[in-house]
């Protein structure tokens, strides 16, 4: 599904190298987790994958289902099936949540040469999906993320994911700022989307999210590299011993 090979990334504005050769291969239907201390390059990985400005890829390739995505605009990557659940979802005053979602869904359909969804059909689908995520009608009407609590913002991200039905989902610290109940709700939303044709890359500091979203593979990232890869037990090791031990071990 997603193939990252020897990815080197620096900041566009300054001579700061963030990723120093990341390689990662996620198969269809797999859930991978990236864990790592602050500043290890986890979030940068998610931004570079989604096509955010400000980063320069100096080496390496990224393909989604065999297609090179690094040359694509963010909206083309989205249409190709990539989705990033933001660590800090952006507030957009004046744009209704529902309008935003319908514009996005139909833009992707159009880009893929599919028929646009009618207003009535869209309403039916979004109501059902919103309900399972405990998103009420008011949240759908309000401007995108404006005045939403931390938990509401993250649930709204998952709702977008559910509506857009991407193939490759990247969750950037989706657990940050969530209490246990909110995290469970978000995890349930994600789990409901797990499917043999859909893959996930879950970026997190802590193991607790991985109690709810069970990964197949866990990678430990440090200083712009993947330093260790293992099964779910690796996350538990981090939980018990912290990163220091693992980093000392690979150093």
């Amino acid at each position: 599904m997603l193939e990252i090979k020897n990815l080197h990334v620096k900041l566009e504005e300054e001579d700061k190298i963030i990723l120093k050769g990341v390689s990662l291969s996620i198969g269809a239907g797999e859930v991978h987790a990236i864990m790592g201390p602050n500043g290890s390059g986890k979030s940068t990985t998610s931004y570079v994958l989604s096509g955010r400005d400000g980063y320069e890829v100096t080496e390496g390739t990224v393909t989604l289902n065999g297609e090179d995505i690094l040359e694509m605009e963010p909206e083309e990557r989205a249409a190709a099936g990539l989705f990033l659940a933001f660590q800090y979802p952006v507030e957009i005053p004046g744009v209704g949540n529902m309008t935003f979602l319908r514009t996005a869904v139909n833009a992707q359909r159009k880009a893929r040469g599919e028929e646009e969804m009618s207003a009535a059909d869209f309403l039916k689908v979004i109501r059902a999906k919103a309900k399972t995520l405990k998103i009420d009608a008011d949240m759908l009407k309000r401007p995108v993320n404006v005045g939403f609590s931390g938990g509401e913002k993250k649930r709204n991200e998952i709702l977008q994911m559910a509506m857009l039905e991407p193939k490759m989902c990247i969750l950037d610290e989706t657990d940050s700022g969530l209490d246990v109940d909110a995290m469970k709700l978000v995890a349930e939303g994600v789990n409901a989307l797990r499917d043999e044709g859909r893959s996930f890359l879950v970026i997190t500091h802590y193991q607790r999210l991985l109690d709810h979203i069970k990964p197949d593979v866990v990678h430990i990232m440090a200083d712009g590299r993947i330093v260790k890869t293992g099964g779910p037990e690796l996350a538990l090791e981090v939980e018990h011993n912290g990163y220091a031990d693992i980093l000392a071990e690979v150093a």
Partner: protein, 429 residues
């Protein structure tokens, strides 16, 4: 003074060969007085402080800068879906064929041309009067010129709540039409009227609308200045508000090499409410100027100014907005915001917000901002698959929404929102 002499000479030259229209005694008196005002003030020049940001020369020149008649192609007329009484002018001349029957319960609609012929008319007390009031403290010579020379327009007397809006449609026929229109509206106590305006009007358009809103009356004004790019327009909307009356005006503008919309309101009755708002979409050699002057001269009145402009490819936006609170106008609630969204570094927004307050128990605030598209929001939208131009349009619409929200009538507000969306799509190419 040399400057004054130059101005006088220029005004004399411009008025050479212009004669006041024929009419009955009241109209002739009003026109003569207006001509005297105009000669006294002189036509505006770039040296005038009030015209610092907008060049008046093409509005005052003897030769009319030509403007090709705009072809709207498949675009339906604005307000098409609204049930309204249509009054059509072509190059400033009333078109009875295209207009509806000028009859509505509680509303008397006459043409200025006809009303001006009679010697006795209610308009006598009011015609040109609000324009005169609006000449201090700032001179508006182009409005005086209009009062002096306009031959057509509507004289509307409203005594009840009008069942439907009066829709003034200005069609453009000739590349060099130079049009003056003067409307006078009196909304009697407790009565209500909505006036809609749209259409390119002329190559050069000078329009005055004087509106007296009596105690407890309401006047709503919604205007769409369309996509016809080459035309030049200067408009003055003068209003006087009685006690507990309401005056609300909204203008949506897209394109136009030169537009100067002046709104001059006096709040003379206690507890009156005045809202003036505008949304403008400018591209290239677009120049759009909102000049607002609101005078509070009564207790416990509210005024609101909300102006938003989206500018790109070197377009210019101007806002000159003033709130004057006279001594004794206590409990005034005055608000003013002007904002521009610049889509590139070539465009500019020039704002002059002013407050002048002589009462001590008032709440007045004003703000003006100029900014670019929010990159974070743009990326967020794109990351969800929305293409760049569409994402930008969504943000532009969101930016203008606050001004459009000022329109009270939902049907009209939806009509204009749909129109704005259409304009945004059309300009993508």
């Amino acid at each position: 003074m040399a400057l004054r002499q130059t101005k006088e000479d220029a005004t004399t030259a411009r008025l050479e060969g212009c004669s006041l229209p024929e009419g009955g005694s009241w109209a002739t008196a009003a026109r003569k007085s207006a001509l005297a005002r105009l000669q006294d003030m002189g036509l505006p020049t770039r040296r005038d402080e009030y015209w610092k940001f907008t060049r008046p020369d093409t509005l005052t020149s003897t030769d009319v800068p030509s403007a090709a008649v705009f072809d709207p192609k498949d675009e339906p007329p604005v307000f098409d879906a609204i049930n309204r009484l249509k009054v059509v002018f072509v190059d400033g001349v009333f078109d009875p064929e295209a207009s509806d029957d000028l009859a509505m319960a509680g509303v008397k609609i006459e043409r200025l041309e006809h009303a001006a012929e009679s010697d006795i008319h209610w308009a006598k007390e009011l015609y040109g009067q609000l324009e005169i009031n609006g000449q201090t403290p700032v001179q508006r010579p182009l409005a005086a010129m209009n009062t002096a020379f306009a031959t057509d327009g509507l004289i509307i007397h409203v005594t009840e709540k009008a069942a439907r809006p009066i829709s003034l449609i200005y069609n453009h026929g000739s590349d060099v039409s130079d049009v003056l229109l003067h409307h006078l509206i009196k909304v009697e106590p407790g009565a209500e009227l909505t006036v809609l305006e749209n259409g390119p009007a002329a190559a050069r358009f000078n329009k005055v609308m004087e509106v007296e809103v009596c105690d407890g009356a309401a006047f709503h004004h919604v205007r769409a200045q369309g996509r016809d790019h080459e035309r030049r327009a200067v408009t003055h909307l003068f209003g006087r508000l009685g006690a507990e009356s309401t005056f609300k005006s909204f203008t949506l503008t897209a394109n136009g090499v030169l537009t100067r919309n002046e709104v001059v309101l006096e709040l003379i009755g206690d507890d009156s409410v005045a809202h003036v708002a505008g949304a403008a979409l400018g591209d290239g050699d677009f120049h759009h100027d909102d000049t607002i002057f609101i005078t509070h001269d009564a207790v416990n009145c509210e005024s609101r100014q909300v102006f938003k402009k989206v500018l790109r490819n070197g377009a210019t936006g101007v806002f000159q907005g003033k709130i004057l609170v006279k001594a004794g106008a206590q409990k005034t609630d005055g608000y003013q915001i002007s904002q521009a969204l610049l889509l590139d570094g070539d465009s500019q927004f020039l704002a002059k917000p002013e407050l002048e307050i002589y009462a001590d128990d008032v709440a007045c605030s004003h703000g003006s901002t100029t900014g670019a598209i929010d990159d974070e929001a743009l990326f967020y939208l794109k990351s969800r698959g929305v293409p760049e131009t569409e994402a930008q349009d969504l943000l532009v619409k969101a930016f203008l929404a606050e001004a459009i929200d000022e329109i009270e009538n939902e049907e009209i507000s939806e009509d204009l929102t749909a129109r704005l969306e259409g304009w945004l799509v059309r300009r993508r190419g």
